[in-house]
């Protein structure tokens, strides 16, 4: 298959390719291209605080395999990660750690809140002195996944939703930069 056909056959490619003699011309916008590239190579941070982490590991393993969508390079350091999947309960003592990890990630960065605990505290919402009632009290969240814990399919759906969000336009950081100017 010709390169042009290959690229055009991928519906998500943000632009057109025109075949010319001896090559071709790509018509696109830089923002579109960059977001397209970003969305297809998101490196998650190896971060899990409870049982949702087991589902996340399962999603990474061969049966579900999120590397099919560009998430295979799980990083053990926030400095190399693009997306943090908050997989589990965030307790008050973990709050500052989560904030620090998020701050250490390079822009642009994305956050997925996986499971009931990360969304709202979940089963620990009432009568608990130690649990943060939703990770979005600490860092901004892009995609929420309900479930306790969510199935791997749900995590895959969330990852694809995040990709769509990135491809569809400006990221949170980009909006922040634009509003400064």
């Amino acid at each position: 298959m010709e390169l042009a056909e290959q690229v055009n056959s991928q519906a998500e490619f943000p632009g057109e390719i025109h075949q010319t003699a001896g090559g071709g011309i790509i018509i696109s916008s830089f923002d579109g291209l960059i977001n397209w590239a970003r969305a297809n190579s998101l490196w998650p941070l190896t971060f899990a605080t409870s049982c949702c982490g087991i589902e996340m590991m399962s999603t990474a393993s061969s049966k579900y395999d999120f590397s099919r969508f560009g998430f295979e390079v799980a990083r053990a350091t926030p400095r190399q990660a693009d997306v943090i999947i908050i997989a589990g309960t965030i307790v008050n003592k973990m709050g500052p750690v989560l904030k620090r990890l998020y701050d250490q990630m390079a822009d642009p960065k994305y956050v997925i809140a996986m499971g009931a605990c990360a969304i709202s505290g979940g089963p620990f919402f009432y009568n608990t002195y130690s649990v943060v009632k939703g990770a979005d009290h600490i860092i901004p969240v892009d995609v929420y996944i309900p479930g306790c814990p969510p199935r791997p399919e749900a995590l895959l759906h969330a990852l694809i939703s995040l990709q769509e969000k990135i491809k569809s336009g400006l990221t949170r950081e980009q909006i922040k930069e634009e509003s400064k100017g």
């Binding site: 919402f125 009432y126 009568n127 002195y129 009632k133």
Partner: protein
């Protein structure tokens, strides 16, 4: 060894101890003041209770109950020792020089229930932050900032 033998031994050491055999294990209710004496005799007698596998506390609102689960890795028998403490001034002797594991568990019971363990070498918070106020596993614990009441 049978529960009858254990009961006989405990009665000879502590005549005031009362027994309850309705549960899975033999329960012994004792006065907190006599705990050290009983603990030593259980550990170093022929019954050889060498394994303290659970140390915890219960808040009954009227009083606190210390609960010790003891077992012997030689004879394979298990008993439960309970002692009621005054809720306003809960004090009991430490057993961490008899069962080393108690050092750790007594710190946890101290931070969550406020039970003070006499002669404990290092009685400070285990998991909670040093500035944490109150005993969170007591039934009347209030924390209007972090806690949402049902």
């Amino acid at each position: 060894m049978t529960n009858e033998e254990i009961k006989e031994h405990i009665s000879s050491v502590l005549p005031t101890a009362t027994f309850d055999e309705t549960g899975e294990w033999l329960n012994v209710l004792i006065e907190p003041g006599s705990w050290m004496q009983l603990a030593k005799s259980l550990r170093f007698s022929t019954f050889n209770f060498d394994y303290l596998f659970c140390l915890t506390c219960i808040d009954w609102k009227t009083h606190l109950t210390m609960v010790y689960h003891l077992s012997s890795s030689v004879h394979r028998h298990t008993i439960v020792i309970k002692a009621n403490l005054d809720r306003n001034d809960p004090v009991i002797e430490t057993v961490c020089d008899i069962w080393r594991t108690a050092e750790f568990h007594e710190r946890e019971t101290f931070e969550l229930f406020g039970v003070k363990f006499h002669n404990h070498p290092d009685l400070r918070s285990l998991i909670l932050t040093d500035d944490f106020d109150g005993y969170p596993l007591r039934k009347d614990f209030e924390d209007p900032i972090n806690m949402i009441k049902l």
